[in-house]
């Protein structure tokens, strides 16, 4: 049992509506910036997003092409494995359903998302479809800042937020699963906040 420190309360943690927030999380009004490395500097002129299927065939969008795609607005709660949750965040982006439309994804079951700067994270293909994931470039009505993953990041709010890869540059489809950055360093392979799947072994 740890030694309680008189007079210390920690950062103000809001009380959240019951059932709204996954176990072990607290609500914050901030939007903390977490990074495993330096913020990459990516110009829109050089930005590309590429989906590579299991045969190695590539589909690529330049920023202009990406920007011309239909977008959706999503208001979602986000949950970081470091225990903060932020409610009702609004994003605008291109649905993965739109991006994957026309791509033969068979026989892939798994996806590795790749980011500028080298970050990776793995997600089951089924978790990116059905309206559950976007490549988002607008946050709270403004272009997504580099600190928060701009020009564009993956947004997969039903999983812990490390899966929502900042500075995303593409997806590679695989038949077999393999762990990405945090998954290989001790975090859970899937990362469902509602089952509190933080660490491998949970």
């Amino acid at each position: 049992m740890s030694f309680i420190t008189r007079g210390f309360g920690g950062r103000r943690r809001s009380v959240s509506p019951p059932g709204r927030v996954p176990p072990g999380q607290y609500v914050t009004d901030d939007f903390p910036v977490l990074s495993a490395g330096p913020t990459p500097a990516v110009s829109l002129e050089e930005w590309l997003f590429t989906i590579i299927d299991t045969r190695g065939d590539e589909t690529t969008w330049t920023w202009e092409e990406f920007d011309a795609l239909p977008t959706e607005t999503a208001t979602v709660d986000i949950h970081c494995v470091t225990k903060w949750s932020k409610l009702d965040t609004t994003w605008e982006g291109v649905s993965l359903d739109t991006l994957l439309d026309g791509i033969d994804t068979t026989p892939a079951q798994h996806v590795m998302a790749h980011s500028y700067g080298g970050y990776t994270t793995n997600i089951p293909l089924g978790d990116l479809t059905g309206g559950r994931a976007w490549v988002a470039h607008i946050y709270e009505g403004q272009p997504l800042s580099p600190a928060h993953g701009g020009p564009a990041r993956l947004l997969v709010p039903h999983l812990y937020f490390w899966k929502s890869a900042k500075w995303v540059r593409g997806l590679t489809l695989f038949e077999a699963d393999r762990p990405g950055f945090w998954e290989s360093y001790g975090y859970h392979n899937y990362g469902d906040p509602w089952r509190e799947q933080r660490y491998s072994g949970d």
Binding site: S2, I4, T5, R6, G7, G10
Partner: protein
């Protein structure tokens, strides 16, 4: 290797606050008595761990500001706007309060009297703290190796340990202090008034030819600018030791 000695280093000890010193309007020193403390070297730091009633814990690192003195150690904490731990340490903590500490930590950014001379110390803001432990150790032991301290602060009101440094410098035992005030200066200020740069180091630091041992401490940007400038001036990288503080305390 003695089992108990290793155990003690790895576990959290309890520190009791025995004195509080208001250094500036935003900076406070906490004098702690730590049962089981086995001593430390100038430049080392402690980790502190605070636990809220609901079990929430926060940990931060703070450099020790004083040389080894039995079970007594002093840390100097700067209030960080919107901080989580520094408001507690600077504004809430009272004499008699206790919290967990671990240490001493660090074997690289350390200096003891008699080592590496001349000694060039460069501190930005609260980066002065571990350098002060070095200066105080030298004053306590009475060695006289030449030491130059270059400090950067926003204003004279923000200069931590201002009067003590003034008194030590006047003692003329080989300690020279130069301060640069980057935001506001008193009307009679004749010192520098800009951020530390290569030119200021060229003018005020020991020349590279003398192979001083350099210790640079402060925010990351400050440390990297200064370290790069020192290398540009010809100082050997192996004779430049750096410690970067984050905005949430070092």
């Amino acid at each position: 290797m003695e089992g108990t000695a290793v155990q003690r280093r790895l576990t959290w000890l309890i520190a009791e606050v025995v004195d509080l010193i208001e250094e500036t309007s935003r900076v406070r020193s906490l004098v702690l008595e730590v049962t089981g403390w086995e001593g430390h070297k100038p430049g080392q730091h402690i980790d502190i761990r605070l636990t809220a009633p609901d079990g929430y814990q926060a940990q931060r690192s703070y450099s020790i500001a004083t040389p080894s003195d039995g079970e007594r150690i002093t840390i100097t904490v700067e209030l960080v706007d919107d901080g989580e731990v520094s408001p507690y340490l600077v504004e809430e903590v009272r004499r008699g309060d206790r919290f967990e500490v671990r240490g001493p930590i660090g074997g690289y950014f350390v200096w003891e009297p008699g080592e590496g001379s001349p000694l060039q110390l460069i501190g930005g803001g609260s980066g002065i703290v571990p350098l002060m432990a070095m200066i105080r150790a030298r004053a306590a032991v009475g060695t006289d190796e030449p030491v130059r301290l270059l400090l950067s602060a926003r204003s004279t009101e923000d200069l931590i340990y201002r009067s003590e440094l003034g008194a030590l410098a006047i003692d003329a035992d080989g300690l020279e202090v130069v301060a640069t005030l980057t935001r506001s200066q008193p009307p009679d200020w004749s010192g520098p008034s800009r951020r530390v740069d290569r030119e200021m180091l060229d003018e005020t630091a020991f020349p590279a030819a003398g192979r001083p041992m350099c210790f640079v401490c402060g925010p990351t940007g400050f440390v990297e600018t200064v370290a790069t400038a020192l290398v540009d001036l010809g100082h050997e990288p192996e004779r430049i030791k750096t410690e970067r503080f984050g905005p949430t305390g070092g």
